[in-house]
């Protein structure tokens, strides 16, 4: 993974000193809250319902054991013993004291971490496929490009006061696990017929109160032009994006209001001005950054598969785990492994300090010291030997982390919701917990098969409900929590925005309603292999409406 050079180290440490000074000036009365708020937000510090919240960047979701242990240390020392992994591959702590945050940031800087670009109207932390550099179907490892984008975008002076936040996601595989089409810029790395690397570029995707699928603006952007073209997009957005209404300030609205062709022409015109200039990526620089992401020395031994198979035959729980949480790896004898942060009935994405340490130990011992955070709020060990899976599974089970539900109905994304978040209008976590409990039976989950339920506690859609196969949006109606259900959303290479099925349900009713939707799907699918989306796209919403509301 990327390692800081002296400039990075100096930069992050200077930033901590600067924020320490800003906090002192705030506490001393030299800064008002109005003056301080944008400064704290630039360092990931929010004020939530119960306390401050600190959001720490995990660039493209990649971290090592040392960093994970430091997060555990922060959880234990400065917070309440746990952290919450987010839908943007970051981590949040829910209870830090403002006076402690400079110390926390200082401790994080020691392990090359920070909270820059986790808030504010800047280019946010770049996200990527959580199986980058490991997945069997990958064409190209997107992390070097995510890192190059990170370096270019970090405190970019021209783009520090954009009309609104700006999110970039990169994938290097044809099957999109990074949800690139619901980002402000989505990049899909591809190779042309001659083997040259380039990107399909999507612009203007996003969720929130106005969900939109990104539009393809470039079929093949040569890798050397990645920064110049991104800068051109940002310049057009920075110039024309609306600043009069924060709800209409994202680039998706600009795309919508301007029209794709005109906006594309604006981007191309800006690109023509700056291409072949300082932003052209030299091949040597791409190589230099790529070297940081060189694959570990995979140790291929014969007989690995037999070891795993024998263990599976003797242990049904391991069998279930291997069936759901183990993913194909590009190296023979290896796999990527999903560590579910969705144990039945628990808060999605939460991990205790002890659990973080277990994952760190396993990564070090079995996983080439690499850990990923997925946008689905799970952790991943991207490179493990298949023969080691039984031992890893046993250690995870002991830590309460062996839930064999990756991609199943209980692998639910949920934002913090009204239990923590100052913006939320309804709770998300307990809805996720109750659905998880309702479908707790492993047999039933396996029978249902792949299913993505995503829950947001307000219209801002941090829980990605628009792109859930089943989406749930919590709103407040006459002082009560109410939940709207959307069906048919997807955030993969066939991205679609779910459609509202009908009137919403109360907190008490919503789990029954979800169960009805799921049972209806199971009842009407043509084969067990026909997944929810395929079935929904085939039959439409009518059978689900009838199940939920009757035929009258």
């Amino acid at each position: 993974m990327y390692r800081y050079d002296e400039f990075d180290a100096h930069f992050v440490s200077a930033r901590v000193d600067q924020f320490r000074d800003q906090v002192q000036r705030r506490l001393a009365g030299d800064l008002t809250e109005d003056q301080f708020k944008p400064l704290r937000l630039m360092n990931g510090v929010y004020l939530q319902l119960h306390a401050y919240m600190l959001r720490i960047a995990i660039p493209y979701g990649t971290l090592n054991a040392r960093q994970m242990r430091r997060l555990a240390h922060v959880a234990r020392t400065y917070d309440r013993g746990y952290g919450h992994f987010t839908t943007r591959q970051n981590i949040q702590f829910n209870w830090p004291r403002l006076k402690d945050i400079p110390d926390i940031l200082s401790q994080l800087a020691e392990v090359e971490m920070h909270a820059i670009q986790t808030s504010g109207n800047c280019i946010r932390n770049v996200t990527a496929d959580h199986f980058s550099g490991a997945a069997a179907d990958e064409i190209l490892d997107p992390r070097p490009y995510a890192e190059i984008l990170r370096q270019w975008s970090s405190l970019h002076p021209e783009f520090s006061y954009l009309p609104r936040k700006f999110k970039i996601a990169v994938t290097g595989a044809p099957h999109d696990r990074a949800a690139v089409q619901v980002h402000d810029i989505g990049l899909q790395a591809v190779r042309d017929a001659d083997g040259n690397v380039g990107f399909r570029v999507f612009v203007g995707g996003g969720l929130g109160r106005t969900p939109m699928v990104g539009r393809l603006v470039r079929e093949f952007l040569p890798e050397a032009d990645l920064l110049a073209y991104s800068e051109a997009i940002l310049r057009v957005y920075n110039r024309y994006g609306r600043r009069d209404n924060k709800y209409k300030a994202r680039i998706k609205i600009l795309v919508h209001e301007t029209g794709l062709e005109e906006l594309k022409a604006d981007i191309e015109a800006e690109f023509a001005e700056i291409r072949d200039g300082v932003l052209t990526l030299p091949a040597s620089e791409i190589e230099r950054i790529t070297a940081y992401f060189a694959p570990p020395a995979f140790d291929v031994a014969v007989g690995d598969e037999a070891v795993l198979e024998a263990a599976i035959a003797a242990d049904p729980q391991l069998e279930a785990f291997a069936a759901r949480n183990v993913h194909p790896h590009r190296a023979p004898g290896y796999a990527s492994l999903t560590i579910s942060l969705k144990p039945i009935g628990k808060a999605p994405g939460d991990a205790t300090a002890e659990q973080m340490e277990v994952v760190a130990d396993l990564a070090e011992r079995y996983g080439h010291d690499e850990i990923r955070v997925s946008h689905e709020q799970n952790l991943v060990l991207p490179h493990v030997r298949r023969r080691d899976i039984p031992a890893i599974h046993a250690a995870l089970a002991e830590a309460g982390l062996a839930e064999a539900n990756a991609g199943l109905v209980t692998d639910i994304i949920a934002c913090p919701g009204l239990d923590y978040c100052a913006l939320a209008t309804a709770r998300s976590i307990p809805v996720a917990q109750r659905i998880s409990e309702r479908f707790a039976s492993p047999e039933r989950q396996r029978e249902i098969g792949d299913l993505k339920i995503k829950i947001s506690g307000c219209i801002n859609a941090c829980g990605h409900h628009h792109v859930g196969h089943i989406g749930i949006l919590g709103v407040e109606k006459k002082g009560e929590e109410y939940y709207q259900i959307t069906l048919g959303g997807s955030a993969d290479e066939n991205t679609s925005v779910g459609e509202i099925i009908g009137r919403g349900f109360s907190y008490d009713e919503v789990v029954d309603a979800i169960e009805k939707v799921v049972d209806t799907y199971v009842g009407l699918r043509e084969t067990p292999q026909e997944d929810f989306l395929a079935a929904y796209r085939r039959v439409g919403d009518q059978p689900f409406k009838e199940a939920l509301y009757g035929t009258a």
């Binding site: 705030r26 004020l47 319902l49 119960h50 306390a51 209870w95 403002l98």
Partner: protein, 101 residues
């Protein structure tokens, strides 16, 4: 019936303006504002406390009496007064259990 609430600047703790003009950590200690004069007085105290860097962004909340106990009207404020509904071991609700034990 209203109360004035805010978060404490230094650590973010949820607080309410108390009867004696201090900022208290439990709703039970909040000054119940039942007249326009009391509201105005509380708001002035809030502005002063903000200027003195004790608290951040004070605002009024509506209260009601349920089964003899003072409760915020809005669910959001009930959660602020107690803690996360999904973690009864955290927030003010946890402290109350400790002190009752």
């Amino acid at each position: 019936m209203k109360a004035l609430t805010a978060n404490r600047l230094i650590d973010g703790e949820v607080v309410w303006l108390g009867r004696s003009g201090t900022w208290v950590e439990t709703l039970a200690g909040a000054w119940l504002l039942e007249t326009p004069e009391a509201v105005a007085e509380a708001e002035a105290a809030g502005a002063e406390a903000e200027a003195a860097r004790l608290i951040v962004e004070p605002y009024l909340i509506d209260l009601t009496r349920e089964d003899g106990e003072i409760q915020p009207v809005r669910f959001r404020e009930k959660i602020r007064a107690k803690g996360p509904t999904v973690r009864l071991d955290l927030g003010k609700q946890a402290r109350r259990e400790v002190s009752a034990a």
